[in-house]
């Protein structure tokens, strides 16, 4: 490491240079005008035929606890500039987190050098012209404003009751994220988004090792989160999941809480690529070739869509190419309406590009989980799923396990805590075996991440293939 790599900034915007030298949320988050100014500054260094610049800044704080004890806690500020230079069909990306003129110029030049040397990309698309965006209001001062003392008090909403109970241990995590992202091109396009999120999850285990309960919540505005209620829910689940009994694996009627639905159904999005389908390697390939667009592939009560403006997600309203994202239906009334079309593939196929979605939403119904339980003579209630891994990409067949609260339902009531199961099933099969739908909820982070809103579901014939001794 050289001295010039560790000298900072004087030419950076004033907001990036805190008088005490420390970066906090105020410093890491550029306003739209400052972001535009920084992108313009970077563009001036460019000698390429075209250039695109993405900047990202964030300040995250967190507190973690486990075994009824504080674990780690921190505050992290970072910033990233990405420059992609184009010479005809050649292009390359370079990123840096240094903001001196010298470092930025070096990044631009390096991206130009790499681009010139790179082989042609025959699929390179010209940069988009300026676009119109409607801002998403996703930034709430309550998130960055939460102090370290207040974060420790959130941990106490789980730690205090578990310590005083004597037979419970709590492990949990609170993360407050504040970020902005901006994207600008030599064609004059400029896009900006900023946002916040507060995410709190807790796992409470019984000290006898037989019970475990999980609960979580996420919102863009920390004031909307009832941390103590989340902690209470995990405690309640842990207590009621104690001393599970084994029942035979097999096909069961299952009520999946929203977290479990999201873990599984979100996966559909990763396979919904038009190109892979046209190439014959996706679950949406029609027999003999072509896509299943226009075919009814799921229960008619299912809509799957993306919408960054939905107040439950408040996601970034543009994709990595700067394409504006609105509400987009992928499944409507169980019918496959479209797949993801990149700009290149859309052009090749003569259709409009869809943009890469930044949210995943699924329609629901009006039933509560209690309603579903009452309407179930025999079935299984699942809190969440774990370690989902692809088994067969041809059908989106996944395996994984239940976790942190699995219960037997008999004659409309929860009667027993059950040992966890491994399942082998596909969201495409499951969404054809639908009985009841709940109200969609924002999830506190699925295994794959992202802004996900889905309902609880009751489904038939869910395929549990073995038992697990894990609690």
């Amino acid at each position: 490491m050289r001295r010039d790599q560790i000298t900072e900034v004087l030419s950076a915007p004033a907001r990036l240079y805190h008088p005490d030298g420390a970066e906090g949320a105020d410093d890491a988050i550029l306003s739209q005008a400052d972001a535009q100014a920084l992108i313009d500054r970077i563009r001036k260094f460019s000698r390429a035929e075209a250039v695109e610049v993405q900047i990202f800044g964030g300040y995250n704080t967190n507190v973690r606890f486990a075994d009824n004890q504080m674990s780690t806690a921190g505050g992290v500020g970072d910033f990233q500039v990405g420059v992609q230079s184009y010479f005809g069909a050649k292009h390359a990306v370079v990123t840096t987190n240094e903001l001196t003129d010298e470092a930025l110029k070096a990044a631009v030049e390096k991206s130009e050098k790499l681009a010139r040397l790179a082989p042609d990309d025959p699929e390179a698309m010209p940069l988009l012209p300026p676009q119109q965006y409607r801002a998403v209001e996703a930034y709430f001062p309550s998130v960055a404003g939460m102090t370290a003392e207040e974060r420790a008090k959130v941990a106490l909403t789980a730690l205090e009751p578990c310590r005083s109970a004597g037979d419970l241990t709590a492990a949990g995590y609170l993360e407050n994220r504040t970020f902005f992202t901006a994207y600008g091109t030599s064609t004059g396009l400029f896009a900006y988004h900023r946002g916040t999120s507060s995410n709190y999850t807790v796992t409470v285990r019984t000290k006898d090792g037989t019970g475990s309960g999980w609960a979580g919540a996420e919102h863009n505005d920390a004031r909307q989160l009832d941390f103590a209620a989340v902690s209470r829910r995990a405690i309640e689940k842990a207590r009621s999941s104690r001393a599970p009994v084994a029942i035979e694996p097999g096909r069961y009627t299952v009520i999946l809480e929203p977290q479990a639905v999201g873990d599984l159904c979100q996966l559909i999005g990763f396979y919904a690529d038009a190109r892979a389908t046209d190439e014959g390697r996706s679950p949406f390939v029609k027999q003999g070739g072509g896509t299943k667009i226009g075919e009814k592939i799921l229960d008619e009560r299912i809509d799957i869509y993306a919408d960054p403006y939905d107040p439950m997600v408040r996601a970034q309203p543009f994709d990595g190419d700067g394409l504006p994202l609105g509400r987009q239906e992928f499944i409507k009334g169980g019918v496959l309406k479209t797949l993801y079309y990149s700009r290149f593939w859309a052009k090749k196929k003569g259709v409009q590009p869809t943009g890469a979605p930044t949210s995943f939403l699924m329609s629901g119904g009006t039933a509560s989980v209690d309603d579903m339980i009452k309407a179930t003579p025999r079935g299984i209630l699942v809190t969440r799923l774990w370690y989902l891994r692809e088994v067969d990409p041809r059908t989106i067949l996944y395996t994984g396990l239940t976790r942190d609260g699995t219960f037997l339902i008999e004659n409309g009531k929860i009667t027993k805590s059950l040992k966890n199961f491994r399942f082998n099933d596909s969201p495409l099969f499951m969404l054809n075996n639908l009985e009841m739908l709940g109200r969609p909820e924002r999830l506190a982070g699925t295994e794959a991440g992202g802004a996900v809103v889905v309902p609880a579901l009751k489904v038939r014939d869910f395929n549990f293939t073995s038992l697990s001794d894990a609690v």
């Binding site: 674990s71 730690l159 390939v285």
Partner: protein, 543 residues
């Protein structure tokens, strides 16, 4: 950050389906478990970097820290991504900053900043101490650290010869495109995705015990996916994970003979279209090191992380069936007497190999499983004290095994996996010898689908290539194979293992753990092994 990922466009949909868990063949890993500690051309720490580290430690102490450590790191990544006969993208990333960890009155605080000025690092240190103080209100027990000797002026580099950053991008792209072309010569192989992924980390470390350490680590991975599509669009099959990621440089890439081997991997994808669906039932499994490394990783390496056993990962990665420690250490029969599992960070070219961990500890080599019995956990300085009763009963020193790791300057260090390896058996026998000794079974090469519960009991593993064994011979290829296990029964069903010459080192470039999530790269050495009477399911089904 989805938006950042989109911007980088690293491989698009193809990269998404090529699960980011690399794996495969080490060139002639015949000398099992060699070890290194030092290398001639290690980096020296710049005086200005050292001054900033000292400034940060001083500020933490002034703010009340009884212990602090500071890491200034530069983290570089380079990707070259292709499909078929075209480039997808070239990406170079560079990130630099400081992370400071402070222990105040027995609670931790951490802060990280990209502002590398005297004022900037001091402010980060003060923030770390302030966060630690704020957490005292929720403190239960005090954190204490096992002693570690100060290392006042150490430097180290891992086993790379040729820095991948010195290789022109066109040379990297050319090699991938040639390999893609070779793979596509096979019948029905219509698509290839391939990428190089290189990491370089310049890590500078200091702590208030007096350690000052500079290290440079280079890691390299090749990812390739060959896809065969049946002419009537009724099936497609992938061959992937054919090369192991390593802690070496470009010289290793050249040794892989990617073009010649790609032709074979393409053929294998093609053959998978014609493979026979497996009949469900119980089989003897002969597992190649290219496959078994992942089973070791999931069912031995993860459950023997001490933080998991003590509940520190309960809210995310999970806990462990190997708990509480007092019920398992020295008592639990994990497998047969010839099952010996070593933890180390010393195998040259392995991904977790370092000179010093992120607490300034020189890692030791230790047996996690000794003669079939559970013997030790993976530890950091904070954790080693939790096992002092065990180490004292064994007449052993209470010390960290050097498993502290942070994946970036902006991440707090915690316990991560060292290289965890299945040691060779005494008898010199090969993968082929194990097949020849098997009457009715399935041989599996390469890692595929994998899933395991949060305590690491119940697991299901797929693979890349499955071969039917009848009467000691391979009689054909199978598909849609996965086996389900319960960890203790599985390892106790192992009845044959390979000898030294069959030892290979494989691993993962992307092992996740922690909140916020961090990625670790780790290797697993293994010999081939045979397991009796394992439950095999058929995973094929029509949409």
């Amino acid at each position: 950050m989805r938006s950042r990922r989109d911007f980088l466009k690293v491989g698009g949909a193809a990269a998404g389906t090529l699960a980011l868990s690399g794996a495969l063949r080490t060139a002639g890993a015949s000398d099992a478990i060699p070890r290194v500690r030092h290398s001639a051309t290690a980096p020296t720490m710049d005086a200005s970097v050292k001054a900033l580290l000292m400034e940060a430690l001083n500020a933490a102490k002034m703010a009340g820290a009884s212990y602090a450590d500071a890491r200034i790191g530069r983290y570089l990544q380079n990707f070259v991504v292709t499909r078929e006969q075209q480039i997808i993208n070239v990406v170079d990333t560079d990130s630099i900053g400081i992370g400071v960890r402070a222990l105040v009155d027995g609670t931790w605080g951490f802060s990280a900043s990209r502002v590398l000025t005297t004022a900037g690092v001091a402010a980060a240190a003060r923030e770390a101490a302030a966060i630690a103080k704020a957490n005292r209100v929720a403190r239960d027990r005090l954190v204490t650290l096992a002693p570690a000797p100060a290392v006042p002026d150490a430097t180290w580099k891992n086993a790379y010869d040729v820095d991948p950053w010195t290789i022109p991008v066109e040379e990297k792209a050319d090699l991938l495109l040639k390999a893609n072309a070779a793979g596509m010569k096979a019948a029905n192989v219509k698509f290839v995705f391939s990428a190089f992924f290189f990491r370089k980390q310049e890590r500078n470390y200091a702590n208030t015990d007096g350690s000052v350490i500079a290290q440079t680590i280079v890691q390299s991975a090749v990812q390739q996916q060959f896809t065969a599509v049946s002419p009537d669009f009724s099936d497609f099959q992938n061959r992937t994970n054919a090369t192991p990621p390593v802690g070496r440089g470009w010289e290793w890439v050249l040794q892989q003979d990617l073009v010649t081997n790609a032709a074979r991997w393409g053929e294998e994808a093609s053959q998978k279209l014609k493979a026979k669906p497996v009949e469900v039932g119980r089989y003897d499994l002969v597992l190649h090191p290219s496959h078994l490394w992942l089973t070791i990783h999931e069912s031995i390496a993860h459950p023997t992380e001490l933080d998991r056993a003590m509940g520190y990962e309960a809210n995310y990665a999970g806990t462990s069936f190997v708990a509480p420690p007092a019920d398992f250490l020295g008592k639990f029969k994990y497998g047969p007497e010839f099952l010996n599992i070593q933890g180390d960070r010393s195998q040259p070219g392995a991904l977790a190999t370092v000179g010093y961990d992120d607490e300034g500890v020189a890692p030791d080599e230790f047996l996690i499983i000794k003669d079939g019995r559970f013997n030790d956990y993976q530890t950091t300085r904070e954790q080693a004290n939790w096992l002092d009763w065990w180490y004292k009963s064994q007449g052993r020193e209470v010390r960290s095994h050097g498993c502290s790791y942070a994946d970036n300057w902006s991440s707090v260090q915690f316990q991560r996996m060292p290289n965890v390896s299945l040691l060779p058996g005494e008898k010199e026998q090969s993968y082929e010898d194990l097949i020849a000794a098997t009457d009715r079974g399935i041989a599996i090469i390469g890692d595929g689908s994998f899933s395991i519960d949060q305590q690491r009991y119940n697991a299901q593993f797929g693979g890349q290539l499955f071969y039917e064994i009848r009467g000691g011979k391979i009689t054909g290829m199978l598909k849609d194979v996965a086996y389900q296990i319960r960890t203790p029964e599985f390892w106790n069903s192992m009845d044959m293992i390979g000898g030294k010459r069959s030892y290979e080192v494989w691993g993962s470039f992307f092992d996740g753990k922690g909140q916020p999530g961090q990625v670790n790269a780790v290797s697993h050495g293994s010999v081939p092994a045979r397991f009796r009477n394992v439950n095999v399911i058929n995973t094929g089904r029509k949409a």
